[in-house]
């Protein structure tokens, strides 16, 4: 393992001293990419550490060194532009939960962030870590797909952009290549008339891995016609999953023209659940159907207000 670059001295928070083997703290994305490019498998990219330190504790990973992204200012920023909202990979769940801009423009994402883990986890865990870990139960994944997010990856060969819906290929598997970093999440700014709902079912209210979750985002055009509708489930398949049949059935209609139980059936049929200790496959199909019905009813009855719900099971 290479020694941590000594860097400039001064008041900057920079680890110094004799034995700094194995801890890299780059101050720019370019430096980070460069360090990652030179290193082997054993160098772990460290964001909030809430997944990595659990893996370390359980001895699931071999670590030869850490690449801590904590000093790269641009990764901590939320920028709201006319066309899109840009969220740096190191933005924490607590930042998302509290940001007035996120609550206003992406309320389904804010609601999902607000229910992750506990205050301690939300203060450290990041959007980038949630995405790259790619757990089927990662709570931000379904909202990101529902909002048509694009992930920006940076490597030594440059920058590439991938729709969130194409990023995940299995439990804890993504298309990201060794040597790449996730730098930002880019989300097209939802037009006015976009409404939605977040529902997470778990066995208790805090510190719980979802047994199933749903992010529903509906874009209404003038006159209440559904211009776009995205129903994305978490924890029901190897990857977060959009039920595209919902879009085909409901697009172009008005909410009150839909038979909600018929839409719910699409969810029950479209998911690929497993039996595990958080629920059986049959249970998850039933819940998926009911959740989608409930979400549609809520979206309809509140006429565009955002609802975040944490149901008990």
């Amino acid at each position: 393992m290479k020694r941590k670059l000594a860097g400039k001295q001064g008041n900057r928070p920079l680890i110094s001293g004799r034995d700094s083997n194995g801890y890299f703290l780059p101050e720019s994305l370019a430096e980070a990419v460069n360090l990652l490019g030179q290193a082997g498998e054993g160098l772990k990219v460290l964001a909030g550490g809430t997944d990595l330190l659990v893996d370390l504790y359980e001895r699931l990973i071999e670590v030869e060194g850490w690449l801590d992204l904590g000093l790269i200012p641009e990764l901590r920023e939320i920028k709201v532009r006319a066309e899109q909202i840009e969220i740096g990979a190191m933005v924490t769940h607590a930042q998302l939960e509290k940001s007035e801009n996120i609550k206003k423009t992406l309320p389904v994402l804010a609601a999902a962030a607000a229910e992750i883990g506990s205050p301690q986890i939300r203060n450290r865990g990041t959007i980038g870590g949630n995405v790259v870990t790619a757990s089927p139960a990662g709570d931000l994944l379904a909202p990101l797909i529902a909002y048509n997010a694009v992930l920006e990856l940076v490597g030594k060969d440059g920058v590439s952009r991938v729709p969130a819906g194409d990023f995940f290929c299995g439990p804890k598997q993504t298309i990201m290549k060794r040597g790449q970093l996730l730098s930002r999440v880019l989300i097209p700014r939802p037009s006015s008339g976009t409404i939605g709902c977040w529902i997470k079912i778990g066995k208790r209210k805090a510190l719980v891995i979802a047994s199933i979750s749903l992010a529903l985002v509906v874009r209404l055009a003038k006159g209440g016609v559904i211009a776009d509708i995205r129903a994305c489930f978490g924890a029901v398949a190897p990857t977060p999953l959009e039920i595209k049949a919902v879009r085909r059935l409901a697009g172009g209609k008005r909410l009150e023209q839909l038979d909600f139980s018929q839409v719910g059936e699409l969810a029950a049929a479209g998911i690929a659940p497993i039996d595990d200790l958080r629920g059986t496959a049959a249970y998850r199909r039933n819940v998926a159907r009911e959740l989608l019905i409930q979400a549609l009813e809520k979206v309809q009855s509140t006429g565009g207000e955002i609802i975040a719900d944490q149901a008990d099971c």
Partner: protein, 161 residues
């Protein structure tokens, strides 16, 4: 490697390694054993400390991540002569049994009351949701936080800025 951090108002320079957890640095190197290790995996909150004013689980932080940070542990709250109103309230409400969760609970309570001097029961539950207690059943802990809020209001502390 060497890191520099402020712990309970005192600047400390510590020789550590890239895989040492902040929890171990506090307990083993600085002998601040008020911070407890329960699960080691972020689930119980026994290891809770304040890092730059934020509630964190010190078992999920590497020591180098706390370089130049300000840390408050339970040893930094109140003193033997003068307990913090929150500590007093925990005693008076009978919210301490084995005491293992108490340091983390007190820090979570402190943070909650700083941000929200008059929390509802639901807000208290949410504020303490990262801290588990195997003994009390939580009712007395919630009562202790309400009592603290009352005490702090009576003393004219903890008002909205």
């Amino acid at each position: 490697m060497q890191i520099r951090l402020t712990v309970n108002g005192e600047e400390r320079v510590v020789e550590t390694t890239a895989t040492t957890r902040l929890l171990d640095l506090l307990r083993t190197d600085l002998k601040l054993t008020g911070t407890k290790e329960g699960c080691g995996k972020g689930e119980c909150g026994a290891c809770t400390v304040l890092l730059n004013g934020q509630l964190v689980a010190s078992c999920l932080l590497l020591a180098p991540q706390a370089d130049r940070a300000e840390i408050i542990t339970i040893e930094g709250i109140g003193s033997a002569e003068g307990l913090d109103p929150i500590q007093e309230s925990y005693l008076e409400a009978g919210a301490v049994q084995c005491g293992f969760c108490t340091p983390g609970m007190i820090l979570a309570s402190k943070k909650l009351l700083e941000e929200n001097p008059r929390p509802t029961v639901e807000e208290i539950r949410r504020g303490l949701s990262g801290n588990l207690c195997r003994c009390t059943g939580y009712h007395k802990i919630i009562a202790a936080v309400r009592l603290s809020a009352q005490k702090m209001a009576d003393k004219g502390e903890g008002k909205d800025e």
